[in-house]
């Protein structure tokens, strides 16, 4: 018999606690227990990046984090990005640039791009492409995604 683990953490700025199996992934808990279904399950082995979330300021694949590991830490998911009135500039620019088709990779790409812009507000195209290498999109061919990230960076620069 496995003993369930009680975990207290912060998700999208709110105190959250949950019970999980010791070997359950953060992705499974986010989606199945906390009903935060923005992070997607793609490959479930760390290749596709569809489940990307921000953990203490660093992007991670939530399928490769055990849920008990987030005890006392800070998790941000795609659900934590938009304000009450407005989309986050990355979300807005992904829409403007039609940087998605089926949409499965989109939350992961936006979270990965946020991780980049948080530490490098004006990345070059090469920096963006290299940073997003851990996120696979099988629809768009990436160009529109790169343009959307560049536009979001400009929009965010203009605001400050």
């Amino acid at each position: 018999m496995t003993k369930r683990v009680h975990v207290e953490t912060r998700i999208n700025g709110r105190e959250v606690d949950f019970l999980c199996e010791p070997g359950q992934s953060l992705l499974e808990v986010l989606r199945d227990q906390l009903h935060l279904t923005g992070a997607k399950e793609g490959c479930n082995n760390g290749n596709c990046g569809a489940c990307t979330v921000i953990l203490d300021g660093r992007i991670v694949d939530s399928c490769l984090v055990l849920a008990p590991e987030v005890e006392g830490r800070e998790v941000t998911t795609i659900e934590g990005l938009a304000g009450p009135e407005h989309l986050h500039p990355l979300q807005q620019q992904f829409l403007e640039h039609a940087a998605l088709q089926c949409g499965i990779c989109t939350p992961g790409l936006i979270m990965a791009a946020k991780g980049l812009l948080d530490q490098n507000p004006a990345p070059t195209e090469e920096e963006i492409r290299l940073w997003l290498a851990g996120n696979l999109c099988r629809c768009t061919g990436y160009d529109k995604i790169i343009r959307a990230v560049q536009a979001a960076a400009q929009q965010m620069e203009a605001r400050v």
Binding site: G23, L130, G134
Partner: protein
Amino acid sequence: MGQAKQYLRPSSIDEAVRALAAANGGGRALAGGTDIIVDVREGRRQVDLLVDLKAIPELTAIDVDGAGGARIGAATPCYRIAEDTRLRRAYPGLVDAASLIGGVQIQSRASLGGNICTSSPAADSAPILIALGATCVIAGPTGERRLPVEQFFTGPRQNVLQDGEIVVAIELPPPVPRSGSAYLRFIPRNEMDIAVVGAGVWIRLDGETIAEARVGLGAVAPTPLLVVEAGRALAGKPATRETFEAAAEAARAAAKPISDMRGSDRQRIHLAGVITRRAIETAVQRARESQS
């Protein structure tokens, strides 16, 4: 779909070793989890207990002491190694490897300890750790032992660790003046792939003569290799293309690869020469540019 039945997060090495020893072979250490979590989930490994090492302070510490070398906690994520300017100066080849293990998400988590404990023949950190003369520090029920990294691997995905033992740190010898190192691998795309061949090189110059050299090779044998003959082909010779070619020939001779979906044995033998020569060129250039 498998799952570990118990998760522990000890705060000391002693506690971790005791828990693993008590698990009778059913326990495994968890560092970044980028290999072990997938192995357990996909049923390749039966694990009852995962012991998370990241709450043990020394397992994620980087100590760089000019005189005494460096000690990198085994569970330290790759991005911290890649971003460490002291390590970049003293061991640039290690930073080459830490910068290209996985994408950004993986670098947030993956560690040197995890990379060597998974013991893939293609582990990117192994050839350069071997070339740099790195030692793994192993803690276990009977105390601590140290082993050169090239003696750690015993076969594909196999190593010397006994029940209850964990790799707690990697130690690097102090940097010496006019030395340089480099890691280079061949992959079919630009990033996020597994090495078809990888080469790590460390050299020390005396004027324009190579005084000492060590060469490590990955993905060309059941384990990462220290290629003594390649080091011998460089030592005492002028730093010229002819010398580098002789070392590349020694690397080709040492390569005993398999053919698989990533490359044929013939391609890997050819690449072992090319990648070794290019890594030597970079290491020599870095030695020329090194300050001290």
